[in-house]
């Protein structure tokens, strides 16, 4: 057991003195990761009840999710809701990323004083409790007959995603030497051209991760969707939430498994991107 006497810090602390910390940390990490994964085996259960481990295996909940256009016992057209969610999330990328990037570029180049005033306003969608944003939007949309519309959902989700885009792009621009653009312009390039040809390629990884985060923010958003989506345009998270309040439907386990795969995939991509950009 010699390894227990190995030094684990430069202050001569032995591994055996720190063993409790290693074990405790492992337990906490386990509790962080594993509970969400329980939905994966549940989703392959053949039983209507959520017993663990499942006695028999089947794909019936996936069939329910992918192929039931109208579930006999409920109002859930899961596939339609998924399509709405995907559409809204993709459109959110195209609204939030350009607007957020332009604002980040403008803010980085403006005076410190202006930045100090504008930045808190710009990240306010992140700071204000989301329930207030949701009921505020609901009121706003009622005036303009935008409740239950795709455009209303996209704008609402973009509002929440824009501060994240802003922060990501601003931190990328912080490490970028703006003089490169000046060089391009002194050689005759216009400002937009200098931005597109010189700056953009150098911050592209940040832009891609900002887009992915916009997508995921929209796809996972619940509260705004609860208030401003409905009718034919319910989102998947909204339908899931409403179903969860009423009963424990194992179809939700199948949907959850799909959502875990999507979000882990996006996480891996952004991690690889951030490694690439370093």
């Amino acid at each position: 057991m010699g390894f227990l006497n190995k030094n684990v810090s430069e202050t001569q602390i032995k591994l055996k003195d720190r063993l409790w910390l290693y074990i405790l940390s492992a337990i906490i990490l386990f509790l962080l990761i594993v509970p969400s994964l329980v939905v994966i085996p549940m989703s392959f259960s053949s039983s209507q009840y959520l017993e663990f481990p499942p006695k028999d295996w089947s794909f019936r909940w996936y069939e329910n999710y992918f192929f039931s256009w109208k579930v006999e016992n409920g109002f859930n057209d899961w596939m339609a809701a998924t399509r709405t969610s995907l559409l809204v999330a993709v459109l959110t990328i195209f609204v939030a990323t350009p607007i957020g990037t332009l604002a980040a570029y403008g803010l980085t180049n403006s005076t410190r004083r202006l930045r100090a005033v504008l930045f808190p306003i710009m990240i306010s969608p992140m700071m204000v409790p989301i329930i207030l944003v949701a009921i505020g939007l609901f009121y706003f949309y009622v005036q303009f007959k935008m409740v239950n519309s795709i455009i209303g959902l996209v704008l609402g989700h973009s509002l929440v995603a824009m501060p994240l885009v802003l922060i990501i792009v601003m931190s990328a621009l912080k490490n970028y030497d703006m003089n490169q653009e000046k060089v391009a312009r002194s050689l005759g390039a216009s400002r937009p051209r200098a931005f597109i040809e010189i700056t953009l390629p150098q911050i592209k990884f940040s832009l891609i991760s900002a887009s992915l985060i916009s997508f995921l923010t929209s796809f996972d958003e619940i509260i705004i969707s609860l208030f401003v989506a409905g009718g034919d345009n319910s989102t998947i998270t909204r339908s899931m939430f409403l179903a969860l309040r009423d009963q424990i439907d194992p179809t939700i386990a199948a949907i959850s498994t799909v959502l875990i795969i999507i979000s882990s995939g996006l996480l891996i991509v952004t991690q690889l991107l951030s490694r690439q950009s370093q």
């Binding site: 810090s9 430069e10 202050t11 290693y22 405790l24 940390s25 906490i28 990490l29 509790l31 962080l32 990761i33 509970p35 969400s36 329980v38 939905v39 549940m42 959520l50 663990f52 607007i99 957020g100 332009l102 570029y105 403008g106 180049n109 403006s110 306003i121 710009m122 992140m126 700071m127 204000v128 409790p129 989301i130 329930i131 207030l132 944003v133 009921i135 505020g136 939007l137 009121y139 706003f140 509002l159 929440v160 922060i167 985060i213 995921l216 923010t217 996972d220 619940i222 509260i223 998270t237 899931m240 939430f241 969860l244 424990i248 386990a253 959850s256 875990i260 979000s263 996480l267 991690q271």
Partner: protein
């Protein structure tokens, strides 16, 4: 002549610089218009509504009802109780993990970081559902506890305060760990080394040197978690099973069930003011840049 030319150049340059500033400000306009139209105006309107009484005139009745009503008092107590307990448990579990991650090599810390980020990226609803599955009467937690003899019979963990608390701690933990870990990584390890070279035991070096230096990160994490808990809706709604009613749920039911915009707005204004005050304190302690990874 030369002087005049210089002055002219100076004036032209100043003008160019000013035009440049207007251009940059212009680039932020689409963003500002969206935030103005969809956050500031609607919330300003909620603020206005909170002062409109049932008869349509200016009054404080929405706030008075909140102060005088036992139901609202109970909601405030529940909201603060759940938020404080969640924050406490997050610190209890988050601090050791963040400390551990700050002590190991960066390579291993990054691997652990993925463990913190996975739940951060997983849909809130999925995690809440997972806990609903795990904690129910026939769930895994109960069957393991009964098999091990920890419980004589299954307990209902969900649809009550304990279930809400377990789910919320799990969801909030990354929000505490991220700023705290960033802070701990920035602490100069030489400080602790210096303390131990002067004869401090590891325990003493930790408490007198490391811990005080980690307080800004800890406080920032605590405040963020607390604020997020105050406005939380989904997890208490699902895991609380209607028995745990927090402020955000009351706001929602005021509108969805009772169409009472005045009452909802007044509660919303209180929630907003408390949140903003806490965030103001937090912003003095930490920059919000590190939350770019995922909100």
């Amino acid at each position: 002549m030369v002087e005049l030319e210089q002055n002219l150049n100076q004036a032209a340059l100043t003008q160019l610089a000013r035009r440049e500033h207007y251009t940059f400000f212009g680039l932020t306009l689409p963003y500002l218009v969206l935030v103005g139209a969809m956050i500031i105006i609607p919330i300003g309107w909620l603020f206005f509504l909170s002062f409109v009484g049932r008869d349509g005139s200016f009054s404080f009745e929405n706030y008075e009802r909140m102060i005088n009503s036992k139901a609202y008092l109970r909601i405030f107590i529940t909201t603060f109780k759940i938020s404080i307990l969640t924050t406490f448990f997050c610190a209890l579990f988050g601090y050791p993990l963040a400390y551990f991650m700050s002590q190991i090599s960066r390579k291993w810390a990054n691997i652990c970081m993925i463990g913190v980020l996975i739940p951060f990226w997983t849909s809130l609803l999925v995690r809440t559902y997972a806990w609903l599955v795990l904690l129910q009467k026939k769930g895994l937690v109960n069957s393991v506890a009964v098999d091990l003899g920890l419980l004589s019979e299954p307990i209902k963990f969900v649809h009550n305060t304990s279930g809400t608390l377990i789910g919320m701690v799990h969801i909030m933990l990354p929000f505490l760990i991220l700023p705290l870990y960033a802070n701990m990584r920035a602490i100069d390890p030489h400080c602790v080394k210096a303390a131990s070279s002067l004869g401090a035991t590891p325990t003493r070096a930790f408490w007198t040197v490391f811990f005080p230096l980690s307080i800004p990160g800890l406080l920032a994490g605590l405040l963020i978690v607390f604020v997020l808990c105050l406005g939380f809706y989904v997890t208490p709604a699902v895991l609380g099973g209607g028995k745990v009613i927090m402020a955000a749920m009351k706001i929602s039911s005021n509108i969805e069930l009772y169409f009472s915009w005045g009452a909802a707005s007044a509660l919303g204004v209180v929630l907003l003011v408390v949140t903003m005050l806490i965030l103001l304190i937090a912003s003095k302690l930490v920059s919000f840049d590190q939350f770019g990874q995922r909100s």
